[in-house]
Assembly symmetry: D2
Homo-oligomer: 258 residues x 4
Amino acid sequence: MIRAGDRVVILLEDEETRLFAEVREGEVLTTHYGNLIMSSLAGMEYGSFVSLGFKGAYVLRPSFMDGILSLKRSTQIVYPKDIAFITLNLDVKDGDVVYEAGTGTGVMTSVFSRLVGSSGRVITYEKRSDFVMRARENVAALGKIERVTFFPEDIERCDEENVADSFFLDVPDPLAVMDRAVSILKGGGRICVLCPTTNQVQESIRLLGELNIVDIQMWEIMARNYKTNPDRLRPEDRMVGHTAFLIFGVKIKRRSRS
Amino acid sequence: MIRAGDRVVILLEDEETRLFAEVREGEVLTTHYGNLIMSSLAGMEYGSFVSLGFKGAYVLRPSFMDGILSLKRSTQIVYPKDIAFITLNLDVKDGDVVYEAGTGTGVMTSVFSRLVGSSGRVITYEKRSDFVMRARENVAALGKIERVTFFPEDIERCDEENVADSFFLDVPDPLAVMDRAVSILKGGGRICVLCPTTNQVQESIRLLGELNIVDIQMWEIMARNYKTNPDRLRPEDRMVGHTAFLIFGVKIKRRSRS
Amino acid sequence: MIRAGDRVVILLEDEETRLFAEVREGEVLTTHYGNLIMSSLAGMEYGSFVSLGFKGAYVLRPSFMDGILSLKRSTQIVYPKDIAFITLNLDVKDGDVVYEAGTGTGVMTSVFSRLVGSSGRVITYEKRSDFVMRARENVAALGKIERVTFFPEDIERCDEENVADSFFLDVPDPLAVMDRAVSILKGGGRICVLCPTTNQVQESIRLLGELNIVDIQMWEIMARNYKTNPDRLRPEDRMVGHTAFLIFGVKIKRRSRS
Amino acid sequence: MIRAGDRVVILLEDEETRLFAEVREGEVLTTHYGNLIMSSLAGMEYGSFVSLGFKGAYVLRPSFMDGILSLKRSTQIVYPKDIAFITLNLDVKDGDVVYEAGTGTGVMTSVFSRLVGSSGRVITYEKRSDFVMRARENVAALGKIERVTFFPEDIERCDEENVADSFFLDVPDPLAVMDRAVSILKGGGRICVLCPTTNQVQESIRLLGELNIVDIQMWEIMARNYKTNPDRLRPEDRMVGHTAFLIFGVKIKRRSRS
């Protein structure tokens, strides 16, 4: 049941317009079909249809994806197609300690905080303090902020060793802090480095190989969306061509001398 | 630290051969470098290097992905590129009730059981009882079996209504049970239907639209793997061209009459 | 050498702006760097740099692709990625007789007319007479119009049999005229049907199979463009996700009864 | 009509087996349906069905693509998806002078020789003389060998300047000969460099930019093949993930000093 204070998605009947709003006294949502008195939704079931003059709208519970799309962004966020593949390949699970640099908008921080369970921790570094402030709000809204520690500084300032089950590295210059990141990982821990360019991929792979990282893999995920008219099924005319290259590897205790 | 009874991944030094074995008295793993007495690994750190004559191997903690790849399979399993995208778009989270038909090899059952938390439930139907037996073993190994209820029968036999936060439908003939699946969903609940052919996609989308499902989206995920020689970076010559089309939608309470 | 009357491409020094113009007395091209007196280009070599105040531009010979991009269009044109693959798979060559329905903007008509040589013919049908008029202009500019016969009518009006080496079918409803198209083909002749939707592909493949067409293949071509900064190589953020599905087949004299 | 001496494609009735053979006295083709006396085909129409015991086969005219697939190869050949895109973007046409290094198996040499018309020329360099011998045979079979000049030496040995309308560069180390290749091009002429790795792409783009090449573009072509059962339409499970990156550019007379 929808309650006062809930954030909801209003999907107009055309199924193409998606609006975000809060169920609150005095809140009025303006749509191109007409206005919606938000407090009138309290007590309805999710999935209900509300009339807006001649047309209407569905009231839906925001998904995590809706949450991401409604965030105020500090930086380019990680795309959904990449988010899910990253968490699966980093093998983030109950009880894990996950390190991240940088925090950015806080999307991955939120994702990780939901996956580590009540006994897990997310430790995230971001040197831009304005980003950290906004990321805190975003993680409070989307994730489990009580499991997250924010450090408003460069990951270079962290002096931990062998503590992280996984490390997510998404900063403008990953090469500069990669040695530090690998040191923070436990033996057998996993790292993901996100790079936009092939030049950075090449250099990152080379350096990871020198830093006791094995089983290095690199993936690129392409998500293709279709128009869903069942009589005229076809892919959308335009698609996302590139977001980032995703590098994965596992830390070993020492490299063999062969 | 590695303990007796742990299952581990042995990654040979060439970084191309991956073996699965258990740390157990009397267990000997045969590799093309030489034999490994598995009990000798107890007490080592994960990520350690062990010598095997002239060459050696790394001892790694199996990831969830490793677990999937080492399963005994009853059916075609859902691919990693699709697994992660499905869970994100179904918005599976702590406390959720997830229904599934059919269970198959139990991979998605395992994935869902890890995501619903200790207060959530996964209810899975599979009419082939031989599949159910194997799926139980797989979920016991990979997931949280205490959160799962297995029904060795057709989803048509389920008479629940409005109970599921999400439904994952992956059966040979989804059209035959789609009405039942949608009834089991709560208002605002999410469904994912997995279809291998465009014919089945068209019919599924048409039927979903008649069954109070809105916000229908269809995605195809392509994952491209690269050779990771930093001096000769290039995509692999061959890639997976197709696994399945992924249809998503949200249940509403009633369809508008406009 | 550039001569009066030549059409040229003016590529501004930023390498992002591409303008089309004619070398002609009195013609002045306005650019955001300044004006260019077109007649001043006569006598220069192609590839020359001309000054435009503080900045400048390169004068290039228009390629066939430039020609296509500068056409006045009647309909959605076939994309370059598809054009080349179609002609290769239809095996269009010196001396061939190529039939086409419909003519549309005349892009494929132009392409075919260049490939059939002086002894070949292109016969093209288009029921919209306004399209035919514009297509004639386009083929005159881009192709070899003396090798082309235009029929301003539906392909159904053609009563030829067994005359075409290949047939290119690109009309809104290919099923309605497919029987006619196949009849026009010689034994061993090749057909290409261009379909935007999977529904139309399915029906076209089924009908082709009933109409003495064998070796049916279906392809989809994806062309991915990169940003060409050598220090930051990466694919473009957005790409074309879909244009059309390309079906190919070969006509046999009669179908076996097995 | 099929004549003695013709090379034909025998497509078995299952439509999956494709055999190449010559119509010649005494030639017998062994198939898994039974034997075919090749001389018996003389006088038949292309597209005819011939009986082979209980099953049969279609007799088809080999396409240029069939020809490519039946070649004896010296090197990795350029894929069809790339061939067509290259010729379109190099704008090869009647009367052109096309330079190529290296000749390799002679596939692109054949393609170019068919496109330049009777007044055009293809000049091709290949330092491995064993490749040249085989390439001659291949061009004789597939192309117009009378329009081709073969040089069994490194392109560095060529001392022409400003003569080529286009240059196709496909050698193991393109950087070593790029300066020479660009010198051979006319102002306004077009170059295509084929590179398998991103490292080579980066270096090639950088050097092309220093060598008076503008309008540099880089493309990657992905061709996706479908299973053509009209009741179960779906992409093939596996596809080609990578062949080569295709770089294109245009030569200018001199670079601006801005």
